[in-house]
Symmetry: C2
Subunit: 323 residues, 2 copies
């Protein structure tokens, strides 16, 4: 094996942290999990990283490692810090990059999870050989990473790529960020459920036809999940189809605007809601095309992630080393 | 003088084409104009370029020239072509880059005028030393060029950076592009006049107070210009101030969304309407800040172009050689 053919990937999540050793072809040679919440301070977390990883690095041979890539909520590429991450046990601004560099004496790259995901697609996934694309995770929220000219768009301060916090509907739904109408309040699992409840509450009397799955669940449980909406759509429930259509309409317009600015070769979707597949992505593509300037029409591919879902975050983190 | 310290800039407009020789510091050493409409074919246009420019290049010394930069409507950087430009006498797809390269045996770079403007600001103007910024021309329409990581964003097909054709208001005003609600139908000289007419027509009876300049012009001439709106605002006409405020509100929201995607250090304005200065840019900045995600607030500078207006397009074209 040549020198610098391995990278450490560290994906830090609110609950779990996944560590792995990844080779240049995207094969995970070794991996392990830590419970993020077990470590009350970032210092104790780095001690745990050291005791778990160092022996493993030594086994593979330290000179084979190109570096360590870290994906973390609110991770800032320029400063190497995690800044005010609501889901992590450590408060304030954590200089994690420097701390990990001191512990391992290897170069460290750090960014947020959506940016790491974008680079993962570029190095190992659906965006291999692409120089201009957008990566969008549709989960609880909407995260995104943009690549132009073969480089991630970090912007002046390292926080670029916040498609989820572009305002899709002026004076729209309240968002966790304190503003109104952000795209992620519509185009995310949370947004889909909000739409579902709005639609179901508007139905004056519930239909009793067997295909009205969602209304039945709503009547029985007084709540629905994004998965319920998906299953209902699979059974041709007209309300569920209308909910996906509404979501697709808002997302499709935002994508058309994103294309006008960055003209990507493809938009790559990842995450729970992206798995709703045809129910969401097919009408989204249609609305995107309908709203697109003619020079961009029928040029932009809508793709699903090319990474295995269980390992995508780890591969994304490792890919930072080679991006 | 060192080798490669000069560039030829060619700015092709619907009426005039400006040719110039520019040094690395942005000094225009020589310039001349052609009437674009005098040349019915691109071949005759290139013959005219050759007969005007070649002797001049020889005078300065051919080995001092780094290349030729061309800014043209619908210019495509990747293909070096001008594609279907409505304002030019030449129809179809013109391989101008290749034609000029053959005529002069110098490297040629070509792009559209807004992109050339952005590079002009980066090399010679208000964006010197910036790696992430947006350049916006507010003229008859709204053109824009985006720079991230120190490079112009051309996108996959060379047509990125169309902020003017992002949809600002769904189902809004009809745009020349065939769609509705494009930002440039509001935020441009044309858009400002449309807003003015809408506002004036809504006024049931015209006030006769002396400060109601715009209504007076409207009553007398049944038309108003963007300059009229500016002059009226200078005289504190409340209708004119409301027209700028409406324009600023729509532009400010679009800029907040642009910032969320690209996190620029500055947004640089150029063109006739940008000269309305405080009447437009001050409320635009306020609406941008109001609509911005908190991590971006009070970080993004709103600047006026750092290039002399009369020579900006020529300097932009020349800067292509050094970008």
């Amino acid at each position: 094996m040549q020198a610098f053919q391995l990278a450490v990937g560290i994906d830090i999540g609110g609950t779990h942290t996944t560590l792995g050793i990844v080779n240049r072809e995207g094969k995970i040679c070794w991996q392990q999990q830590l419970n993020t919440r077990d470590y009350k301070t970032p210092e104790s977390f780095v001690v745990a990283l050291k005791s778990t990883l160092q022996a493993q690095i030594d086994c593979f041979g330290r000179d084979k490692f190109a570096g360590i890539g870290i994906g973390a909520p609110n991770g800032n590429h320029y400063s190497g810090t995690i800044e005010l991450a609501a889901n992590l046990p450590w408060k304030g601004v954590i200089p994690l990059s420097k701390m990990v560099e001191s512990a391992f004496h290897l170069p460290v790259q750090l960014t947020n999870d959506a940016n790491a995901g974008a680079l993962g697609e570029m190095i190992f996934g659906a965006a291999r050989h692409m120089k201009n694309f957008a990566f969008i995770t549709l989960g609880t929220g909407l995260g995104s990473g943009l690549v132009t000219n073969g480089q991630l768009v970090y912007g002046h301060d390292g926080f670029a790529g916040e498609l989820g916090h572009t305002i899709a509907l002026s004076e729209g739904r309240p968002c966790g960020c304190g503003r109104k109408g952000c795209l992620e309040t519509y185009a995310s699992a949370t947004g889909l459920v909000t739409t579902a409840i709005e639609f179901l509450q508007q139905q004056k009397q519930f239909e009793t036809f067997p295909e009205h799955w969602l209304a039945t669940i709503w009547q029985q449980q007084k709540q629905v999940s994004a998965h319920d909406v998906f299953i209902a759509a699979e059974h041709q429930d007209p309300t569920a189809i209308a909910i996906f259509d509404y979501t697709a309409k808002i997302l499709g317009l935002s994508l058309a605007n994103l294309v006008a600015l960055t003209s990507p070769e493809a938009i790559i979707f990842f995450g729970g809601l992206a798995n709703a597949g045809a129910h969401l992505l097919t009408p989204t593509k249609q609305y995107m095309e309908d709203n697109m300037l003619s020079i961009f029409k029928n040029k932009v591919r809508i793709l699903r992630s090319g990474l295995p879902e269980a390992n995508a975050a780890l591969l994304g983190a490792a890919s930072l080393v080679w991006a």
